[in-house]
Amino acid sequence: MQDFEYAAPASIEEAITLLAEPGANARILAGGTDILVQLREGLRQTALVVDIKKIPELGAIAVAADGSLRLGAAVPCHRIWSDARLVAGYPAVTDSARIIGGWQIQGRASLGGNLCNSSPAADSIPALIVEKATCEIAGPRGRRQVPAVEFCTAPGKNVLERGEFVVALSFPPPEARAGSRYIRFIPRNEMDIAVAGSGVWLRLDAAGKTVEAARIALAAVAPTPVAATEAAEWLAGKPASEESWKKAGELARRVARPITDLRGPKEYRVHLVGVLVARALATAAERARGGDRDPMVPADGRPSGVR
């Protein structure tokens, strides 16, 4: 392992100062499940690791009076999927937190880390996109907000400038008659990186029979996680039926431009987009109608990581 110093600031300001240290190429340490592997393999270099887990804001889960959520960027996955408010309000997010690696990884890995690692296959990012998360960034020039859908710019790259880091993810209040879901396809049933992933959100009308609005985002089929806007917009006003889900899946395929790599051939990944979007929409609709939001037992009977 390369040699580095370690600092654990107690405040965001202190962290910003540390990140600015000249020549250190300092890197943030939250859960460590990506960065430590990369440092060990020499894929990234640093002389200073800045542990942000001692900053109170980074580890806080705060639900405001209006129902909106502010999720500290370093909150580990296991605290996310075991929080009943998050399961109820943002099930796509808790679905994704439940399947990033196994239990041991979820004991440490955070959504801020998953986001900032900016892998095109990141499981949490499609969920963040469809739940309309905003990334709160702090840096030497102050604070700024970036919608999750704009955060990643290329594989492993994002909008963060030198010395900046994500401190929290903010979500609007959950809507009535809305449901969301994240599923992915992996060859095993756990522990794999997504071959393709799909996050969806939708809202049904009062009768529960028509889609009022929808959002769809995809993982692992483009250089960044990507929104399938055409498919989502097409769903507005359509019946909440299997036929609609299938058609939306077909439309979503159009934004997929995957590569062939050791995780799967590209034609197969494009095909999977159609399958996953349709299945995710079916569960999201069930949830919108009051169906089970537990990531272990969703309405279609299958945990997020299975099938």
Partner: protein, 166 residues
């Protein structure tokens, strides 16, 4: 080279302290500095679970935790499962149920399973498999491991009922 740090922590209920370089993982320090070799290195990148320990009650891959991070934390390793000379019901059930062959993955499984049973002493087969998916075994095919966890859960529930009676 970065200066060594002094870390104070609690391991298996006992106060512990050590010096470590910032780049050393918790796994490295447990094994090489503290002589607690029960946690094993299988892959060193979070894919096999052989290094699992409980960090403040949560199962983690100790190969992906820097030793400096555990200042003030409570750590449980396989060495801390037995108490006062008595094996933990999980250890007992693994032995009686022949749930190990080479045994290298066993410490990791025991620690994760302990966390699972602490949380829920009667998990379903599906739940056991889901929560143990981060622990890879190559020898047993998992069948006897799952059965041993179920048996240990039943034993723990029995103990609880007995204690409630007295």
């Amino acid at each position: 080279m970065a200066k060594k740090r002094h870390v104070t922590t609690t391991i298996n209920g006992e106060a512990a302290e050590f010096l470590c370089e910032p780049r050393q993982s918790l796994l490295e320090v447990l094994r090489d500095t503290l002589g607690l070799t029960g946690s094993k290195e299988g892959c060193n990148n979070g894919n096999c679970g052989a290094c699992t320990v409980l960090l403040d009650g949560v199962p983690v891959d100790s190969c992906l935790v820097l030793a400096v991070e555990v200042e003030g934390a409570q750590i449980i390793t396989v060495e801390g499962l037995a108490s006062e000379g008595h094996l933990h019901p999980l250890q007992q059930c693994f032995l009686e149920g022949a749930a190990l062959q080479c045994g290298i993955c066993t410490p990791g499984f025991l620690v994760t399973a302990k966390a699972l049973l602490d949380h829920d002493p009667a998990p379903s087969e599906r739940q056991i498999r889901f929560e143990l998916a981060g622990n890879i075994c190559r020898c047993t095919g998992y069948d006897k491991i799952v059965r041993a966890v179920q048996a240990a859960g039943r034993k723990l529930q029995e103990h609880q009922r007995e204690q409630q009676r007295t």
